[in-house]
Amino acid sequence: MAASRRDKFTRGWWFILPGLLLMVAIVGTPLFMGFRYSLHDVFLYSFRSQNFVGLENYRRAFADPLYMNSLRITAIFTIGCLVISVGMGILVAFLLNARQVKFRSMWMALFLIPFVMTPVVGGIAWRFFIWQQEVGVLNQVLTFFGGPAPYWLLDRDTALWATIITNSWHLIPLATLVFYAALTTIPDELHEAGRVDGAGPFQALWYIVLPMLRPHILFVSIIIITSAFREFDMIWALTGGGPGRSTTVLSIFAYNRGIANQDMGMANTIAFTMFIIMAVVAWLYITVYRKTLGDKA
């Protein structure tokens, strides 16, 4: 017995070790070096001369109104994408799961396209064909009904919301897919029972579907938070962080500081604060997820 347990132990580790070492090297090295750079004065074209400055970069970042502005924009962007994607995801999944809908896998395959479409290309497509002031589809529709034709991406007040909506368009399919897969596992009897008790579609959604979806909502939320928080490509293609700094999320702010301003110490500091924020989110998620599963079981 003891021998077979040891066999089992070594057998597993032989498979694990090569990959584990590679993973630690490939993720751990930049993580460690990034933290190191954040404690130094490092400039892009003279990066071999690094002065240790301790937490000075962090103090400078938190005292910088531009950093705080980026933090605020990142928070709005993340929460905006989260709310829209989860809400729309549930709605579309609920519609798709209606008994009368046929060819469901075909609908789902087509709904998936925005998710697999290259975000940079998605951003370019929205910028040229949807948000464009003169010939964009949105303004064409608005002016057809006698509405205004704003410069969506060139106006500080609307640019952030335009990027949030575009990025949600990219993320909604993921939410739809997970919620739809979960909905198909809800037994018909439950809906049947609801109908007998006189529940309409909205009551069914609220009292039957939503409680069943709770663990899935948590799962989708965390993926969307992680993805929206670090988003760079989509925003870069839509607005490049402008107009002004109205869409400069932390990823873009770090890029600007590090590559454009060549202040690599500061850029790594900004990035590392992002890492810390995500570490807290990860910790919260793992605790909450265990609890949710715990009281379900």
Binding site: F9, R11, G12, W13, W14, F15, I16, G19, M23, I26, V27, T29, P30, L31, M33, G34, Y37, V92, L95, Q100, A109, L110, F111, L112, I113, P114, V116, M117, T118, V120, V121, I124, F128, F129, I130, V135, V137, Q140, W169, L177, A181, A182, H216, V220, T226, F232, W236, L250, S251, A254, Y255, G258, I259, A267, A271, M274, F275, M278, A282, Y289
Partner: protein
């Protein structure tokens, strides 16, 4: 009775109308790209004009192929994406399998680490890698960019594959052990075939992620390793004037064609890959 039936009919219509509306919103951007790529576009034109192909031409595609080094970007994209898939599978399939074979604290610690790595924002890795690669002489090389891609693929793939391996019943391997199979034989001939479709799903997702990746390429590709996603932004400067905009659209269509084909044909695998882990603990 009649009213109930009519009400039912009404619901069917509303459901389909809403789904149809959502489909239009979902597909409008790619459809407009295709429309613009196949029209002569000297200036910005109205969407209806484009969708009716009033001025049909394939000139934009010839331009996209011949101008702006399309094949150079394409080669980089193909090499990086396919190598990323191969290496990720070679590394992560055994790693994930091994994780389901060990037990207790060790497994929990490694799984926790893998999960935690998935939360790291890409820019956190990209910035230090920029300097590390300059030091190692890897800046602007495909190998450097590939390593950066692997830093996001390996945690993602391991986490996903553990979910697939966990579904394989223990009895299967125990039968193999009784028959005296070697550990390698157990892995390769007994367990791996069971999770084959999961591995295919993973390969497709990794390919799509690599193909679509932009941030690492922007930071690390220099002049010699730029993939298509960087290539397309090269045109953007001229686009604001409207002049190059048909060519950009053609270029964009070429960039998204492979991933969209995957979405439509390998849809079953993508669905199983994306929903994996949704219900597990």
């Amino acid at each position: 009775m009649i009213t109930a039936r009519m009400k039912k009919r009404g619901t069917v219509w509303i459901v389909h109308a809403l789904l149809g509306l959502w489909l239009v919103i979902s597909l409008l951007p790619p459809v407009m790209l295709v429309a613009a790529s196949m029209n002569r576009t000297a200036l910005f034109r109205s969407p209806l004009d484009l969708l009716m192909f009033r001025d049909f031409t394939l000139e934009n595609f010839t331009q996209a192929f011949t101008r702006g080094d399309f094949w150079f970007f394409f080669t980089n994209s193909v090499i990086i994406s396919t190598s990323a898939v191969v290496i990720t599978l070679v590394v992560c399939v055994p790693l994930a399998y091994g994780l389901t074979k060990i037990s207790g604290r060790a497994r929990q610690a490694v799984s926790f680490g893998v999960l935690a790595m998935r939360f790291i924002p890409y820019v956190v890795l990209a910035l230090p890698l920029f300097l590390i690669f300059v030091n190692l002489g890897l800046s602007g090389s495909r190998i450097g960019l590939l390593l950066a891609h692997l830093s996001i693929h390996i945690p993602f793939a391991t986490w996903m594959l553990v979910g697939f391996f966990d579904t394989v019943p223990h009895e299967l391997e125990e039968a193999g052990i009784v028959d005296g199979c070697s550990p390698w034989h157990l892995f390769w001939n007994v367990t791996l075939p069971v999770v084959r479709s999961g591995v295919v799903a993973l390969a497709i997702l990794v390919f799509i992620i690599s193909w679509n990746e932009y941030l690492f390429a922007l930071f690390l590709a220099g002049n010699n390793a730029q993939p298509l996603t960087v290539g397309i932004t090269r045109f953007l400067g001229g686009a604001e004037a409207g002049a190059e905009y048909g060519i950009i659209a053609a270029y964009a269509v070429l960039v998204i064609a492979p991933v969209i084909m995957f979405a439509l044909t390998a849809n079953r695998f993508i669905v199983s890959g994306m929903t994996a882990g949704a219900v597990k603990g």
